[in-house]
Amino acid sequence: MKVIFRLGAGIVVLLALAAVLAPWIAPHGPNEQDVLARLQAPVAAHWLGTDNFGRDVLSRILFGLRTLFAVSATSVLGALLVGGTLGVSAAWLGAWMDRAIMRIVDVMLAFPIILLAIGIIAMLGPGASSAAAAIGIAYVPIFARMLRGPALQLRQMLYVEAARAVGAGTPRILLRYLLPNLASVILVQASLSLSTAILVEASLSFLGLGTQPPTPSLGRMLAESRNFLTLSPWAAIFSGLAILLASLGFNLLGDGLSEQLDPRLRGT
């Protein structure tokens, strides 16, 4: 079913473009206030309405997507690099290194992601960069565990042995033989992790622990608009929808990718 993959890719590309092009396509500045037009329903001048300060909801969502993607992409990329290195080293070095690394991973996996993230933010203080660090650290053990298994299998492959026999060094084996074969696992896992990392970032910002004002943030936008829900629900509705769409896009993409890359799953 290519539909899932295409749909996911479409949403991701669309939102990523919107986030990148926000300064050019947003009809208003993210913090520009129109005090005469506060808490408005969608109208021609403000497609998605305005918030309690008279700020344009669409523009704030576009800029909020920027923050959301920047924080979640940084954290997932960092987690992939650190966690992936840990997982592959554990598989490659084996023996006591493997046991030691995986024990630490077990301990970190014991913490619910949100609690580990909250704990790290308690240390670093609330803010977008703390949120990125917190989510990144919380996802490290996930990538370590996810990549160790396949790396362990690949290590015993005949072509790896053959490469070593003809004199390839470890860096060459890792880069030329291991990495390309891990690529599909990495792509799928990174995409699915982005989907959940987006929700964690939005949750943290919603709780006031992530991105701080005046930087536009979708989670915080939703939290602030709750106080004016009965007067004008639009900011709450659309900021939440944007979070949902962002998370959905990456989830569909990951789901579709895993199907495309693994022929056994096709048609299930």
């Binding site: 899932i4 077990d106 301990v107 014991a110 913490f111 619910p112 704990g119 979070i243 949902l244 569909l252």
Partner: protein, 316 residues
């Protein structure tokens, strides 16, 4: 079985030890001086007071000793004193834990009860169109932010039934009806993404089980479709389902933490977020430690549950 149990206990002890060490480190590694941070910008703080607090927290001792002293206190049930209320941290957590536990457990029950028939029904439909629709729907369900769903429910109810007092917490024992009507919407918000995720896992597991030889054998020997589905397919599919319930408990907790905020429920989520704002580190640390240990125990319990469901696991 005995050896596996013993190894499980060993792992449990090791992970608990690790969790305690990480929880301990979290607070000790705060950049700058935790004591200064705790006392804040209060100008009237004297050098002597700082030293006293530092001594009280054991910060003037070597690192390993600090950890051991702290661990000893924790094992005796002394998790410190809240800086904001002056009450023992444990009683603060005890008061809030009930709310979160009720919300989490009710959501889990609702999610499992809904996901079982839903997932089974999804596995029964095998046409392309229905399949795609259900897959899309379940992915949408998984990615709905629970705090947004909660906000939308709150808005919907306030528009449709303004008399329903949905926000606030009433005690289960003194006002059971009020308690249930107050927790209904939070449960729906927390449970919805979990229903989608569990139903999806069950559908995948059942579809996989349907392809197995033992299903063909069961059909070939003339068993009814109902018996085949319930006794052979569902039972085998329950193993990945139960694994997922263990993973899901973390999501349930995360959902509770944010949803409590929407409905002003005095649970652990509100406690820990408030504690961070107040720089009440002892409270943050203890909440993380205790909640994580509960998760470690829940997951250990689920491992035991496997043995009950799947005889093959008993030998392993």
């Amino acid at each position: 079985m005995g050896r596996a149990l013993l190894r499980g206990c060993g792992e449990l002890l090791f992970v608990s030890f690790g969790v305690s060490l990480v929880s301990f480190l979290m607070i000790r590694l705060i950049p700058g001086d935790a004591v200064q941070l705790m006392l804040g910008a209060n100008a009237e703080v004297t050098e002597a007071q700082i030293d006293a607090l530092r001594h009280q927290l054991g910060l003037d001792q070597p690192f390993v000793q600090q950890y051991l002293v702290w661990l000893g206190q924790v094992l005796h049930g002394d998790l410190g004193t809240s800086l904001t209320t002056g009450r023992p941290v444990l009683s603060e957590i005890g008061a809030a834990a009930g709310v979160t536990v009720e919300l989490t457990v009710l959501s889990l029950v609702v999610a499992v009860v809904l996901a079982l028939p839903l997932g089974a029904a999804m596995a029964a439909f095998r046409s392309g169109g229905a399949n795609l629709a259900m897959r899309l729907l379940s992915i949408v369900g998984i990615t709905v932010p629970s705090f947004w769903l909660a906000t939308m429910l709150l808005y919907g109810v306030s528009a449709l039934a303004p008399d329903w007092a949905v926000v606030g917490w009433r005690d289960l024992t003194s006002d059971p009806l009020g308690n249930l009507s107050g927790i209904a919407l939070p449960v729906v918000s927390v449970a919805s993404p979990v229903v989608a995720s569990l139903a999806r896992i069950l559908r995948a597991a059942m579809t996989e089980a349907l392809r197995q030889d033992y299903v063909r054998t069961a059909r070939a020997k003339g068993l009814g479709e109902r018996t085949v589905l319930l006794r052979h397919v569902l039972r085998n599919a329950l193993i990945p389902f139960v694994t997922q319930v263990g993973i899901i408990s973390g999501y349930l907790f995360a959902g509770s933490v944010v949803v409590e905020q929407v409905f002003a429920l005095p649970g652990l989520g509100r406690l820990i977020v408030g504690a961070i704002a107040d720089r009440d580190y002892a409270l943050v640390q203890a909440t993380i430690l205790l909640a994580t240990l509960v998760f470690v125990l829940v997951n250990a319990g689920i491992d035991l549950l496997y043995a009950a469901i799947d005889p093959r696991m008993r030998a392993a």
